[in-house]
Symmetry: C3
Subunit: 679 residues, 3 copies
Amino acid sequence: MTFVVPRQADGRPLPDQPAPRLPVGVDGLVYGGDYNPEQWPEEVWAEDVALMRQAGVNLVSVAIHAWAALEPRPGEFDFGWLDRLLDLLHGAGIAVNLATPTVVPPAWLYRAHPAIRPVTRDGVELERGSRATFCPSAPAYRQAAAAITRQLGARYGDHPAVALWHVHNEYGAPVGACYCPESATAFRRWLRARHGDLDALNAAWGTSFWGQRYGEWAEVEPPRVSGTTGNPAHELDFARFCSDELLACYTAERDILREHSTVPVTTNFMTTNCKSIDYWRWAREVDVVANDHYLTAEARRNHIDLAMSADLTRAVAGGQPWMLMEHSTGAVNWQPRNIAKRPGEMRRNSLAHVARGADAVMFFQWRASRFGAEKFHSAMLPHAGTRSRLWQEVVRLGRDLGALHEVRGSLVRADVAVLWDWESWWALELDWRPSVDLSYRERVGAFYEQLWDARLTVDFVAPEADLTGYRLVVVPSLYLTSTAAAEVLHDYVAGGGTLVVSYFSGIVDANDTVHPGAHPGALRDVLGLEVEEFLPLRAGEEVSLDGGLRGDVWAEHIRPTGAETVHSYVDGPAAGGPAVTRHRLGDGVAWYVSTRLRGAALDAVLREVFPTAGVEARDDLPRDVEVVRRRGADADYLFVLNHTDAEVRLAASGTELLTGRRCESELTVPAGGAAVLRS
Amino acid sequence: MTFVVPRQADGRPLPDQPAPRLPVGVDGLVYGGDYNPEQWPEEVWAEDVALMRQAGVNLVSVAIHAWAALEPRPGEFDFGWLDRLLDLLHGAGIAVNLATPTVVPPAWLYRAHPAIRPVTRDGVELERGSRATFCPSAPAYRQAAAAITRQLGARYGDHPAVALWHVHNEYGAPVGACYCPESATAFRRWLRARHGDLDALNAAWGTSFWGQRYGEWAEVEPPRVSGTTGNPAHELDFARFCSDELLACYTAERDILREHSTVPVTTNFMTTNCKSIDYWRWAREVDVVANDHYLTAEARRNHIDLAMSADLTRAVAGGQPWMLMEHSTGAVNWQPRNIAKRPGEMRRNSLAHVARGADAVMFFQWRASRFGAEKFHSAMLPHAGTRSRLWQEVVRLGRDLGALHEVRGSLVRADVAVLWDWESWWALELDWRPSVDLSYRERVGAFYEQLWDARLTVDFVAPEADLTGYRLVVVPSLYLTSTAAAEVLHDYVAGGGTLVVSYFSGIVDANDTVHPGAHPGALRDVLGLEVEEFLPLRAGEEVSLDGGLRGDVWAEHIRPTGAETVHSYVDGPAAGGPAVTRHRLGDGVAWYVSTRLRGAALDAVLREVFPTAGVEARDDLPRDVEVVRRRGADADYLFVLNHTDAEVRLAASGTELLTGRRCESELTVPAGGAAVLRS
Amino acid sequence: MTFVVPRQADGRPLPDQPAPRLPVGVDGLVYGGDYNPEQWPEEVWAEDVALMRQAGVNLVSVAIHAWAALEPRPGEFDFGWLDRLLDLLHGAGIAVNLATPTVVPPAWLYRAHPAIRPVTRDGVELERGSRATFCPSAPAYRQAAAAITRQLGARYGDHPAVALWHVHNEYGAPVGACYCPESATAFRRWLRARHGDLDALNAAWGTSFWGQRYGEWAEVEPPRVSGTTGNPAHELDFARFCSDELLACYTAERDILREHSTVPVTTNFMTTNCKSIDYWRWAREVDVVANDHYLTAEARRNHIDLAMSADLTRAVAGGQPWMLMEHSTGAVNWQPRNIAKRPGEMRRNSLAHVARGADAVMFFQWRASRFGAEKFHSAMLPHAGTRSRLWQEVVRLGRDLGALHEVRGSLVRADVAVLWDWESWWALELDWRPSVDLSYRERVGAFYEQLWDARLTVDFVAPEADLTGYRLVVVPSLYLTSTAAAEVLHDYVAGGGTLVVSYFSGIVDANDTVHPGAHPGALRDVLGLEVEEFLPLRAGEEVSLDGGLRGDVWAEHIRPTGAETVHSYVDGPAAGGPAVTRHRLGDGVAWYVSTRLRGAALDAVLREVFPTAGVEARDDLPRDVEVVRRRGADADYLFVLNHTDAEVRLAASGTELLTGRRCESELTVPAGGAAVLRS
């Protein structure tokens, strides 16, 4: 079921992987942001354009929320302002990323078709008045969205300003699912396509449990709130359906645009932060992968999460360059405490995305709104105006990106892969798992953080992707593991690879059915062990392992069937038994970590793994100095991002592109600064 | 209003109390579990039966969730598989506890009768898809349930495999109440029966408060969510109605079965864990009391809660033997952190139930499910199969129970009674009590724990039950106390008994109306005091009593009117006033504890009480070594359960039944082990 | 938009401010409480009246919840009992505060008109059964309320017992808003009146943000739950509408009463505790301001919150005397932990209200209810009866108030004003502000507490009120600041005043639109600075300022444009920048505090401010000894309330009214006691 991203052994895209199609007519790196001119009198537009040029902006996203402005009454269109805007921008040499405005239908559509309102699991009908509040299965919504898209495509399909199509906005959030009767109808249609007949559905969902058998299709509903926990396979298929149903909205609009235009089409993803969309499937449908990323403002070291997001985005882009469609110049407005970025932080954030494959750096938003729900969201042009520090940094970033123009198109290669799967995320976090402390995102993040600290560049890969060429593959909490995915891992190890698997992986198949026999059914062979019993720990309880390691959340009663014990439990419910194991299989080694290790403890285990994998941590730099390499046809580009408060020096030579200076042997990067060395 | 369990002075059932009717044809102790063959291909059944025999299983519960399998379409029945299963089991000598499958109606019934869905207090309609999600007042549900029950009764009423009828499953959870219009109609009918006319209802509910007077029956609704706290008498009557309405579902099915079958009929209770069912009332309607008990997995010393559950179950069984219908071999799946049982723990749990009166030990479930919401619930036959520790323990337990066959039918006697009342539980925990820290279950549990630690076997008794013969009666937080119940307590003390009452008892009558005059209106006389003012404490605040005791949650301004002060408040809002008092009345003594004492502090006060009651704590054994005695016609059976990690020795003689060894003077029980000594 | 309370320079009401109309025929201070005779047999009434006389009660509020008792069936009235009651009371010399009972419509009205039930933001229809659960926009409710009001007015308009009309009860709680279709209709009507046409509404609400433009009035709905945060101007107008819609309910009833009666009309406010009512607007419509106040039971030093409530009540009363309509003799029943009042506390509470302008001290309730949701609420006559401490204190308080009769009509004057605004409260606490730790009520309370500790009597003032005559004006978190309000502050400072403004003030206008340019747009000029960026702090994070001060929650990047820095940030995100500034403007000074200071830190800054303002803290008394002065035509009255556990002495002379003793030079107030000195 899971989409396989085809790739070569060295992690590069296959020869037949289509190259991404960046905005037409924009050379070098893309720079810009969302631009909402409809919020301002037209006399402000000229100032906007002048300041955009000052900042080096070469692309702006427009009309994302403009449906009501473009079609004020059903079938009546007002394109005049957009005509003028596009001409103005084009005249100034600023390309346009033109949106289909279907994320916010006009008020009149809700009045004419009340059923386009989405309904929650509890049966609450969500009202318009914010954004992205619609039922993706409602025919009335689909038809109206197609109509406005057709209008835009016809009118602007060959407008010279238009360099890219931005379909909709952030599909999947804030409303990721609708439980209304129209969604029920669509869900049944989707289920028929997936399962064929009801017997197959009854078998796949295990409806003999708790007497849930279906006798007619009409009995199948979305998984609305029930007296207690429902059928997990039902939930899992509904999650797939929700992702697919939104994808159908996207492809419908894309196909209409393609009838009218040869300009590339995309939509903005939120790879690490949107649980409701399976981006492995979606990425096949866009001409270029675009991503939005926002820091978790209160988190310390949130630049690591940023790196993970960028790496995952590159992965869904098949290793090709991608666009950072939105991030923020400073604070956002929708988190509990919207911590502002420190001086230099926006620049490091931007260059970190570029270092990991972005060929575009864009922001929400160009000019801070004076009204509405996001008026306290930062912007390229803040309320405080052009005297502000923030504006100065925006201008400087424009210059920096100009200096990096040759980086465009270069690629990132990695020796280490981390397996990522939205379906496992969905399945693992359904109700009634052995412990509420199990978290997919936490476990992937924990492994990623240690690899980041070791300065090992990471590719994310899909569960059934070819792993040839990777020295090390890490599989955190792959609860749902198909037999096919398990075979890939088995072959990878047998072929000489090094695999690290964390607990609660390999448990169920695509229908959330336990693989036969002892856990982890799909991975017993490759790991050389059986888990006789899960031993979740109490809240706050820790277990000791030999070697001074401490774990929490989880332990297991493991019976090795070929694996050797690397670390044992010293206390706790599994005292005396294996905690970390190693299984030699063919030419490779499969490690298993059966408790939750974090930070130094997880690092210690990975340091034992690295030599067997032939990878080496880089420890010659202070903590929080980030180094990543992009490889171009003619040169390599070493990005050094100094997230610390002290100057850092490292041995390197080449041309530092941001300053244009030649570096002979030692590169100095100031506190909070960045460097990009061409070699 | 409250049902009185009749009993003799020594706690034994009255001569005319009908003996429980254990499963027909099963000798000795019953052993087995829920068996869901419909989840497995028929070829697995033979293996199941062979393993059941290996484990010593003699009874399995079948068809609990099989309605959709038995009646796939309205009025079309498929009994073939059940015929074959019953024959197979019967042929193997395994008796069947046959369920009416009415806890999960088939999908077609929901489609045909949407109104069978229950509705929450907030008006949310709960969808099918999990289990036990139906409106007990819906005529369509009642009729369909009667029809399938009739089919089963007619077909299997005299099947030789059927040894017991298991009506429905765990009435009252997870949905304990329905607020739909059909429930409203039934509620009005129930209220008419209880109150007669509207004037009586207005008086009982005190509707002159906040202008809530009813002028017509049609104005009365279930207590749906309102702007703020509603009428507490309304809530209390609705709680009674909900329990009674489910009871009517039970008795309807039971009566149909009795038309076709002479086999005993029961349903499984959850005595200490289901607040929505008044088991005092229900217990009169079953041929044998059956109970489900699950440990609170994360709680330390949860074997004490188990003991309390067993004692309460024996109480609702009128002191007669009862069946443990469900517990778990290891972890469950529905708690936040499903801690697995340690080696030996399942065995001690099982024998602890037997020690306190169970003549059956059964599990949910026989074989672990591969799919559905409970696939991570442990089973007798786990995913890890027959090589597992858990299976070995299951086989051993079967042998143990066989060795205890003669225990069947023996009884437990106690000198100490604890008063238990579902109505007080309901009433005490309604909104707007003086402190949110008041908890019925907490207070009963706190007293029970100290009595358990003192190794005093406890009977639970209903509020108006005869207390003759008990040396000590404990009354924790009996907020709702009828005048009749108060008279029983008064007579008990006057007749020489020792009574301990905790705070917030005796406050209101059956309509949640404050007894006239100073608190505690119903108990002022027996306690010899008035409470002038409640003095709830702040969150975390403690008060000191003389003697080094510390209380929290609650204090009171007490004015003695006959009682003497045993401990005074040293600080806090009642500083200088009485905290613990003692009132000599007739030949007995009534103690009062006006603050929340726990652990050692509560123990200290009880140690002052015990001598006056003539009971004696047993302190010669290490903490967490449990001893209970069952008394048979010809012999006594001393159960010793060693919940510690160290071997324990105690002076005793007789035959240890689990090992068959003769014990002359000292019995040795290994760490985590158990012994049963016949003397 | 905001109502201006007109006042003279010295804080006294203007000559044309109508004097409050206290209950007709009651001399001296008013004493009494809610009286619910319908809850008791008539034979109890005689005892009630006798005890009222014993306690010195001269006014009782009756019929508040009596609609169902007065109109048991639609159009059928039963006034007999009320006739008898009023005659009884009148005969005993006890005046009546007669309520219109419209806060709880009878059950029959809900049955006849289901649409009078209010609907929540989530679409949940609230059922009757508690109180105050109705839709204020429902025509059926309005008509029925008018009809019963007309009946009462006609029958009792000139009854000699009736001294005051008590319309409804506590408008605005517990249900402050209704989102039903009838409310939608009324909301549209209100919006037309406010904005005129849709273009104006679209402009005011900034509907060009997120494409929310309205094309027809029928598209406008109450701000029901949507996919994410809605339009803040929409929310803000809805808050205004809700307050106004309830006000229309009040004025409709008032006007009917005035047709029949010359007795003054009021309704009971909850000034500091009801966020949903804009009392600046409401106070214009009552003949006398009445207020309900309840302590936050668990809070330490909750007498300061009481003082703040009294001062705010006096403010909305235009500086004139007012009535304390409800407080409690002891514990309430609706807080989590209902801490009882300590001996003497009720007396100090009562006298503190009088000290700050109350000419009436009334309680909920006369006699404790035996049933219903509030039976554990304390009363003047508690369950424990007349032997109780509480009853003795009630009798003593009656005597005390009698001894203070001459205080009636005297006024309170203050040199310090604190600006208070319900609209800012609403706006500041809408979703998606920069930090969830921003709280309007917290900030006002923090400043008030320090002023209370400095024993500076405070007036509250509305945003556009004349500030002439105040030495110091404090503006905590006035997020919403109109240009007019900003001009008042500017002129006040320029004219020689001292102003203190806390962070997040002056940000938006009445439509929640950011004032153009850098923050704080409305106050940049008066403060002499620009805020370049908000720097919210992490949860628990603190920043240091020079001078040893520490702040939390908030910091800012400030660019002075005339202000001088008084304290700088030493660390944190604004390290090195200004934290507290001072701007000399004209003859005055404007201070700005840009981080959250509390307790000693805030006190330290205010101690720097006081000299520039010419006000002086009074530090010669122990903490928690409260002194306030009322000024009469012929004498001043110094209230001294000793909230400590130790006797206090202060230099003073005059007659102590409570004891009648002459005090020559030193006044002694016992621990927990009070004194009122006439001089």
